[in-house]
Amino acid sequence: MDAFRACLAIYLYCVLRATREPPATLLGIDGAPVRAVDLGGLGAWVSEVPSAPIVPSPERARSHDSVVRAALEGETPLPARFGQTLASEEELRAAVAERRAALETALARVEGAIEMTIRMLVPRSESVPSETTAAQSPRARSGREYLERVAAAQREERNVLARTQAVRDRISAAVGGLVRAEAFAAAAPGSTLATLSHLVPRPDIDRYRHALLTVRHDDPALAFMVSGPWAPYSFTEGIGT
């Protein structure tokens, strides 16, 4: 049995403000039962996995999130990023102890709140290639044409940033009073998708949704969609590795 256990690792799903037992029937990655680990005040939900790296798959990602969601049924946890395994509970305790202050600060910030995620589709001019494409294009007949293409691509990126900012400002103005924090990821060069994440206190979720519906009604040209509630995946910065 000891030899068997030595082959296993601990897979981390989330960190909690206090030790709390998961539902007895809760299963995690590859169907393994989930259990709580007491971290001396803080708690964690883990399961055992083979010690080999956990290769991501849609099924495993769903399992990871469903465990985090089960924790979200109670006090808001800090969700762990997919794929973190530790050799033992002692290693988990040491890793948490090293970041304890940052974890406690992050847990206090997300307490009583959930994450809502807005995807903003930012239209691009189809006639303008991205800067990378422009730079790599072999069809430029002259140095001047090449530079004009690069300049056009740069103008388009600035236009996309400005359009994204306009949508972001409109949404932020509508929900600003309802959100505790905001995280923003601009569209990558050449991409059309920017992401705005909000940390919303649970009692305000319906008002938050209603505020977004009002934005949609008042300004139907804004292309965005919202999903959630999520555990606060986008509000865990500052904890470091």
Partner: protein, 85 residues
């Protein structure tokens, strides 16, 4: 052309891509060497391109944006809300 709506495949693709971009790319990192293999990075890239392409498909399919997005807004929060219990 009819009013656009999310078909089952679209909705599954959107929910999965949103899930992958949260779970694989966000969240607390407490181990020094979080293992997101090459396959994981591909999954993030694929999921985001699926998300963009699904949105663009909806954009083309719709007569007007106003007819589509309120429905998306209503449809997409299919994930269970802890406050709904």
């Amino acid at each position: 052309m009819t009013d656009a709506h999310l078909e089952a495949g679209d909705e599954d693709a959107l929910v999965l891509s949103d899930l992958l971009s949260h779970v694989l790319d966000k969240g607390v990192v407490i181990t020094g060497d979080v293992i997101i293999s090459i396959a994981g990075i591909d999954l993030i890239a694929i999921s985001l391109s699926v998300l963009i392409s699904a949105l663009e498909t909806l954009e083309r399919r719709s007569v007007g944006i106003s007819g589509r997005l309120p429905r998306m807004l209503g449809d997409l929060p299919v994930l269970r809300s802890p406050g709904d219990a």
